[in-house]
C-alpha cells in the first residue's frame, strides 16, 4: 500500500469516526432503556428519525435559523419518547417481555408509515450546518458538517453523563436499573423514573436523528431500520448497560464501517460489521469494558 492509499484510508476512517457519534448516541439510548426497564425498545431509532422529521415540519411552519432545527428535534424526540412509553409499555404487564417487544415493533412500523404518509415517501433535504467549511490538517480534510455533528454528539454525551452521575435523577435512574424493588423501598417512584428515562433517551434520540439528517444531507424513512440494527450492534459491542462502552463502540463501528466501505464497497461493508459483532459475542459477550466472562 503506497502513501496515497494510506492517506485515503485514514481519511475515510476519520470521517467514519466523526459520524460514529450518531451511532454512539443511539447505542446510549438503547442501553439506558434496557438498563431501567430490562426491555428492548425497538422503535427507538424510528422515533429518532421521526423526531428529525417533526423538527423539519416545525421549521417549515415557523421561520427560524437552521440551528433551531436541532433544538426542535430534541424537543420532539422527548415528546415522542414519552408517547412510546405510554402506548407501548405502560399498560402491558411486566411479566410479558415478548408483548412489549412486539408492541415496539408495531410502533416502529407505525412511525415509519406516518412518515411515509405525511411526506408521500419522498426523501426530504435536511439543513446541514458548516457544510461549506473544510478544515485541512496536513494531507487530510475534515468536513465541517461532520465536525459539527461530532462536537454536538460529544456535548450531548457530556451532558448526559453529568445528568446520570451528578444529579439526583441520575442516581435514581441508576438505582432503578440495579435493583427496582430496593429503590422503590428507598422512596423512588419507579414509574416516574421510567417515564423520565424514556423522555431523556427520546431527547438524545431526537438529536441523533437530526445529526444523521445533517450528516447525510437528507432524511428518509428507509433510514430507521439500518439505524435500529446499528444502534443495537453498538449496544451489544459496548456491553449492555455500559454508557462509556456504547460511546467507544459507536465510534469504532462508525470508523470501521467507513474503512470497510473504502476497502470493499458499500454493498459488503455491513457484512464485516456483523462479523465483528459475532466475534464480540463469542469472545467478549460482556462488551468492550468487562473482563472476559466465563461460560455459563
Amino acid at each position: 500500500m503506497d502513501l496515497l492509499d494510506l492517506i485515503d484510508t485514514i481519511q475515510s476512517i476519520a470521517d467514519g469516526v466523526l459520524f460514529g457519534t450518531t451511532y454512539a448516541l443511539l447505542g446510549i439510548g438503547f442501553t439506558l432503556i434496557f438498563g431501567v426497564m430490562h426491555k428492548i425498545n425497538l422503535s427507538f431509532a424510528a422515533a429518532s428519525i421521526g423526531a428529525a422529521y417533526a423538527s423539519l415540519l416545525i421549521l417549515s411552519a415557523v421561520k427560524a435559523p437552521a440551528v433551531v432545527v436541532f433544538l426542535m428535534a430534541a424537543a420532539a424526540g422527548g415528546v415522542l419518547g414519552g408517547l412510546v412509553y405510554l402506548v407501548g409499555f405502560k399498560f402491558i404487564p411486566l411479566a410479558n417481555p415478548l408483548a412489549t417487544l412486539m408492541s415496539t415493533v408495531g410502533l416502529l412500523l407505525l412511525i415509519d408509515e406516518i412518515i411515509v404518509h405525511t411526506t408521500a415517501g419522498v426523501p426530504l433535504n435536511y439543513p446541514a450546518l458548516f457544510s461549506d467549511v473544510i478544515v485541512p490538517i496536513g494531507p487530510f480534510n475534515l468536513r465541517g458538517d461532520l465536525m459539527f455533528v461530532f462536537v454536538l454528539g460529544c456535548v450531548c454525551m457530556t451532558v448526559l453523563l453529568l445528568l446520570l452521575y451528578r444529579t439526583k435523577l441520575g442516581l435514581a435512574t441508576r438505582a432503578v436499573s440495579q435493583q427496582p424493588t430496593a429503590s422503590q423501598l428507598c422512596g423512588i417512584g419507579i414509574m416516574r423514573v421510567n417515564i423520565l428515562t424514556f423522555v431523556i433517551t427520546g431527547v438524545v434520540g431526537g438529536i441523533a436523528g437530526a445529526m444523521t439528517g445533517a450528516a447525510i444531507g437528507m432524511l428518509s424513512p428507509l433510514l430507521s431500520l439500518p439505524l435500529t440494527v446499528k444502534g443495537l450492534i453498538v449496544t451489544v459491542i459496548g456491553g449492555l448497560g455500559s454508557i462509556p462502552g456504547a460511546i467507544v463502540a459507536g465510534l469504532v463501528v462508525g470508523g470501521l464501517e467507513n474503512f470497510f466501505q473504502f476497502l470493499r464497497g458499500v454493498s459488503e461493508r455491513d457484512l464485516y460489521i456483523m462479523l465483528l459483532l459475532f466475534a464480540f459475542l463469542v469472545f467478549r459477550p460482556g462488551g468492550i469494558f468487562t473482563v472476559a466472562a466465563g461460560r455459563d
Binding site: I40, M102, E113, H117, V229, T235, L240
Partner: protein, 303 residues
C-alpha cells in the same frame, strides 16, 4: 378465485415461517434469524430445481437439512447469550445472510438466458411449477399438505415429553437446569427444528413467487416471523395460524379498500392487540373458554 388461492398459498408459507419461530420462542428465546434460514432454504431449493433440475421434494429436503444445519451452527455461539444480546446476534446473522445473497452471483447459461442468482438483481425464472404443469390448485394442495404435516408434528411434539421440556426451559431456565435438563442442548435442538421448518418454508416460497431477491429476506420478514407466534399466543400451534390469517388475510389483504391508510392501521393494530391481549390472541384463558363451550355442547348432545 385465483386471488384467494394465491392468498391461501401466502398464508401457508407464512404459517411455516411463523411455526419455525414458534419452536424457538417456546424455549423463551427470541430469534430474528428465521428470515436468514428462510432465505437459505429459498436460494438452495431454487438453485437445485433450476440449475440441477432436481425434483422439488428432494430439493425441499436438502434445503430443510441445510436450514437445520445452519440453525444448529448458529445456535451454539448465539445461545450462550440471552435476551437482547440474542435478539441482536440473530438479527445480525439474518442480515449477514441477506448481505451474502446480495453479493452472491452464480449464473449458468441455458439456451438464450442466464439462470441462477445474480447479486442485487435477485434470482429470476424459478419456473418449476409451470414447467411441470402444476396448476394453482395443485400448488395450494402441495403447500397445505406440508403445513398440515408440520403442524401435526409440532402438535404431537407439544403434547409429548419434548414439548414439556421445551416449555420448562422457556418458563424458568434455572428450575429446568436443576431438574437435570441440559438447557443448551434443548435450545439448540429447538433452534434446529426451527431452522428445518424455515428451510422448507423458504424452498416453497422461492417456487411460488418464481423470483426471489435479497431484500425480501430482510429484518422486516424476521420480525414478521416472531410476530405471528407472539400475536397468536404460544399456548398451541393454532395461535400462529390464527395470527397469520389475522395479519396476512385481514390486515394486509382485507384492509386494501382503505388505500394508503391501511399501512398506518397495520402498526397501530399490532400495538393495540398487544395492549389488550399481552399473552396473544389465543391464550390459555381463551382456550379454557373454548374447551368449556365444546364440552358443554357435547354434554347437551349426549343428554
Amino acid at each position: 378465485m385465483d386471488f384467494y388461492l394465491g392468498l391461501i398459498q401466502i398464508i401457508g408459507v407464512h404459517t411455516l415461517l411463523g411455526l419455525s419461530a414458534y419452536c424457538v420462542l417456546l424455549t423463551g428465546q427470541v430469534s430474528l434469524a428465521q428470515a436468514g434460514f428462510f432465505a437459505i432454504g429459498a436460494y438452495v431449493a431454487g438453485m437445485l430445481t433450476v440449475l440441477l433440475h432436481w425434483p422439488l421434494v428432494l430439493a425441499l429436503i436438502v434445503s430443510a437439512i441445510l436450514g437445520g444445519a445452519m440453525a444448529c451452527a448458529v445456535g451454539f455461539p448465539a445461545l450462550r447469550v440471552k435476551g437482547l444480546m440474542l435478539v441482536v446476534a440473530t438479527a445480525a446473522f439474518g442480515e449477514a445472510v441477506r448481505l451474502f445473497f446480495f453479493n452472491f452471483t452464480y449464473q449458468v447459461q441455458s439456451g438464450a438466458i442466464l439462470l441462477g442468482p445474480h447479486g442485487g438483481e435477485g434470482f429470476r425464472q424459478i419456473r418449476y411449477f409451470p414447467e411441470h404443469g402444476w396448476g394453482t390448485l395443485d400448488v395450494v394442495l402441495f403447500i397445505w399438505t406440508i403445513v398440515v404435516l408440520v403442524m401435526a408434528m409440532l402438535w404431537w411434539m407439544d403434547r409429548s415429553r419434548v414439548g414439556a421440556v421445551l416449555r420448562a426451559v422457556g418458563e424458568d431456565e434455572l428450575a429446568a437446569q436443576s431438574t437435570g435438563i441440559n438447557i443448551t442442548a434443548v435450545k439448540v435442538s429447538a433452534m434446529t427444528i426451527g431452522g428445518i421448518i424455515a428451510g422448507i418454508g423458504g424452498g416453497i416460497f422461492a417456487h411460488y413467487t418464481t423470483h426471489i431477491e435479497h431484500i425480501q429476506f430482510g429484518i422486516v420478514l424476521a420480525t414478521f416471523a416472531i410476530a405471528y407466534p407472539i400475536l397468536g399466543g404460544l399456548s398451541n400451534v393454532f395461535g400462529t395460524l390464527l395470527a397469520v390469517i389475522f395479519i396476512q388475510g385481514l390486515l394486509i389483504e382485507g384492509l386494501r379498500f382503505l388505500g394508503d391508510w391501511r399501512n398506518l392501521l397495520f402498526g397501530g393494530l399490532i400495538v393495540l392487540a398487544m395492549n389488550i391481549r399481552p399473552r396473544g390472541l389465543l391464550d390459555a384463558g381463551v382456550l379454557m373458554t373454548l374447551k368449556r363451550l365444546v364440552s358443554r355442547n357435547g354434554e347437551r348432545k349426549g343428554a
